[in-house]
Subunit: 476 residues, 2 copies
């Protein structure tokens, strides 16, 4: 018995854990660390309890717990042994990772100046949103806690359908609206349901790189189609890839060039889809943000043949960490998508959907968009003026009528990748236009978001950018 008792013989501590827990862990560790081996007999309960000065019941519970977990086998009067079927080499648990880099690596951080893809974070109506959230949270009970319709919360689907009719000229039933976890989640759904790996897709060149990544991850063959002053060149597309299943476009303000898809091109695209049975994804991420003249209605508003899947997102109109977007489906796709979504319960959390529905239905969304349109117009104009004053003839700013970023070109400067890298070293985050091309870049420039540059900071930011780029631009 001496051999088996040894690993268990040290006195138990009176301080921290319950005695039974201490004893349980001691025996378990002795087994997993190989000090007690399979088939080996343990001390009798009575002996162990007396050796350690604990109650017999304490030792008994430790043994029975270890037996219930399969470490020990009670053999009646013959005593208790370590389970003969244990494989000790399997019990050595891995040492935990010492790596602590996980937390700082791409965690939450403040947005950097000129960083693309963010609304004005300083001007979001936080207090109102917090009040609506608190109110919705108090309504969470019963059926609202259970699994929800994976197509989305019905109040939100209704509110979106109403909003789209008024603001984007899109007439649809709430039943055609499906809530997604953002634009890319919607693209993934479309790729999975309507296409097969290897299918060809018309993709704008240059184009939105996150959409590109998503479609490529789905195994689709992207065919880059040049964008000119009227947006995607449909005739060129037909020459380049005459048999695609899908076209992905940004008609309001092409991402990243900012041009609007002309009415003639819109019609050509719709005619093509109607004739060939292809689908069109309309990414209307910034259709609300038009500053010069009126905003254009959505492509979907002209979609007589019902071939357009309209994709909206609240990442730019509310805020990105909300993770909410939506698709408006052609009628013929509604049932297919319902089946796929509902089968997998792939819905979004209900609370954000409730709050967003209240925000829309309460008229706050319309007001917020009007305020942001005016704010962005002001910030955009201020930045354009500041850049023009600072860079003089050394900069050429594309005349965007809308969107959330400017495109600045620097004639005879170094490559935009070099410029972006130098800016990054100064704490700025412009994006190189050339990085948005799938093929060989045909243009250079820096994409500069103005949404998070308050008017009074635009001169300072322009100066910092100028300092950052000075060594890479021609001397005046």
């Amino acid at each position: 018995m001496a051999r088996t008792r040894r690993p268990l013989a040290a006195p138990l501590s009176r301080s921290s854990l319950p005695l039974q827990e201490q004893l349980y862990r001691r025996i378990r560790d002795a087994i997993t660390e190989g000090r007690l081996v399979p088939g080996e007999r343990l001390p009798a309960v009575r002996t162990l309890a007396s050796d350690l000065g604990v109650a017999r019941g304490t030792a008994e519970s430790a043994y029975s717990r270890l037996a219930s977990e399969g470490y020990l086998v009670a053999q009646g009067p013959a005593g208790t042994i370590v389970s003969p079927s244990l494989r000790i080499e399997m019990l050595h648990r891995p040492a935990p990772l010492k790596d602590t880099s996980w937390k700082t690596d791409r965690g939450v951080r403040e947005p950097l100046p000129f960083q693309l893809g963010l609304p004005a974070l300083d001007m979001f109506p936080r207090a109102l949103w917090a009040r609506l959230t608190a109110r919705a949270a108090r309504r969470l009970s019963g059926a609202l806690l259970a699994y929800q319709d994976a197509m989305g919360f019905s109040d939100l689907r209704e509110a979106i359908a109403s909003y789209l009719a008024v603001s984007r000229g899109v007439r649809c039933q709430p039943g055609q609206v499906v809530i997604t976890g953002g634009y890319q989640a919607g693209l993934e759904l479309i790729a999975r349901l309507l296409l097969r790996p290897g299918d060809e897709v018309w993709f704008e060149e240059p184009g939105y790189f996150l959409a590109r990544q998503e479609l490529q991850a789905a195994g689709l063959a992207l065919r880059p189609v040049p964008v000119d002053d009227e947006g995607l060149d449909v005739e060129a597309a037909l020459r380049i890839a005459p048999r695609v299943r899908l076209a992905v476009v940004t008609p309001a303000h092409q991402s990243p060039l900012g041009v609007a898809l002309s009415l003639a091109r819109r019609q050509a695209l719709l005619a093509w889809a109607a004739e060939t049975g292809a689908w069109i994804v309309e990414d209307d991420y910034d259709g609300e943000f038009h500053y010069v003249g009126r905003k254009l209605p959505a492509l979907k508003s002209l979609d007589a043949a019902d071939r357009v899947i309209y994709a909206g997102s609240f990442s730019k109109t509310l805020f990105p960490s909300l993770r909410l977007g939506y698709l408006v489906l052609p009628n013929v796709l509604v049932r297919t998508l319902e089946e796929a979504k509902r089968k997998a319960f792939h819905g979004e959390p209900v609370l954000e959907q409730m709050v967003t529905a209240d925000f829309l239905a309460g008229g706050h969304f319309g007001r917020h968009l009007r305020r942001m349109r005016s704010l962005y117009s002001t910030r955009r104009d201020a930045l354009v003026r500041a850049l023009a004053d600072t860079f003089g003839a050394g900069i050429d700013i594309a005349g965007h009528r809308g969107g959330l970023a400017l495109l600045a070109r620097f004639p005879n400067g170094d490559s935009d990748v070099v410029l972006a890298r130098s800016a990054a070293a100064h704490g700025l985050a412009p994006t190189a236009l050339s990085s948005q091309y799938l093929g060989r870049p045909r243009a250079q420039g820096l994409l500069l978001s103005f949404t998070n540059i308050p008017e009074e900071q635009s001169r300072r930011m322009a100066r910092v950018l100028h300092q950052a780029l000075a060594d890479h631009l021609p001397r005046r």
Copy 2:
């Protein structure tokens, strides 16, 4: 001019919309409905304004807006014409769907008696949750509104790592924890990253049907492996499909049979994975809910070779519409998953993650689990007694030691599908065990969740079930 003026001649209304908007719509509709055709000349601004009794500026803005949208082309002194490049047949917009069935079809509804997969919705600490939510919503600002780390909110990842170490014996770094939109979203991620369509998977027979659907949707070839009193039969699995890339198991309480995977089987499974380089998904959805004896530590706690992907979900421990789950990744998979997740910004909304992190770190989660364990134990015992008293020898209730549902067998009764259908006609929602088989069902029975049957209702529910099944059971 008469022909072109006619469609526009009726007086404008003074009441609702601004005059410019009315005029814009009238001309646009005249074009889209074919009353004004491409190339056709419009009345001069002066003429139209005078005809309609509106200011000349009003007519001018309507024309310039239509021109900016591409409907009209201004030809200087020659006047304004309908754009010759318009394709009228494309402009007829589709009539909206008249279908209003979308809303009632699988929308929010109260859970039905015996329905699987739900925690006790009546006992969730709603007021506390609402307070924590309101507090988190007030903290939403700046960087928290922007895109977040797609691996998950760092406070939540830390809180989960601490909880797992204490409660499930799983030792991991927060960097190994990735937040998902529930268990199935986690499975989808695993299937996409680690497997290819056609890869074989060991799947418990019977098994959790939603996991089955998810894996099948990913194109995987499921190989059903029989489950006996010790859980998944590893030796049988090796005979049935010796070269699989993945095993998906529910070790705590097998879904749906409720048995625990024995220690010997756990070791055999881990040894197989270590030897072959396969992966194991441990679905620990109800590991916390064990009523007889102590709960077993997770399979992951024995995973010396780091082959187990531990999958947890808050759907059963908190509530399903939260849409939050998590995976604990083997160290070697962390970088791969980070890249894939971060590339696509496929994160979950930040607010729920903040609230859940606070709930865990504040000690509320541990208290809630203890309360639910006790509540479920009470509800389970009451239902077992009520069923035994009501059905007498006509029922055989499997001796589950944990989990969220009972398995009731009715010797010599009709098929379980017939029984479930009859129960559904009485407003009850038990699940037929045979529906959980991938191949030919080897057993019959009804799965009855007790989580939402308060103790005082168990007798009534047992009686309703008895009435519903009476015609399909042998007469005593």
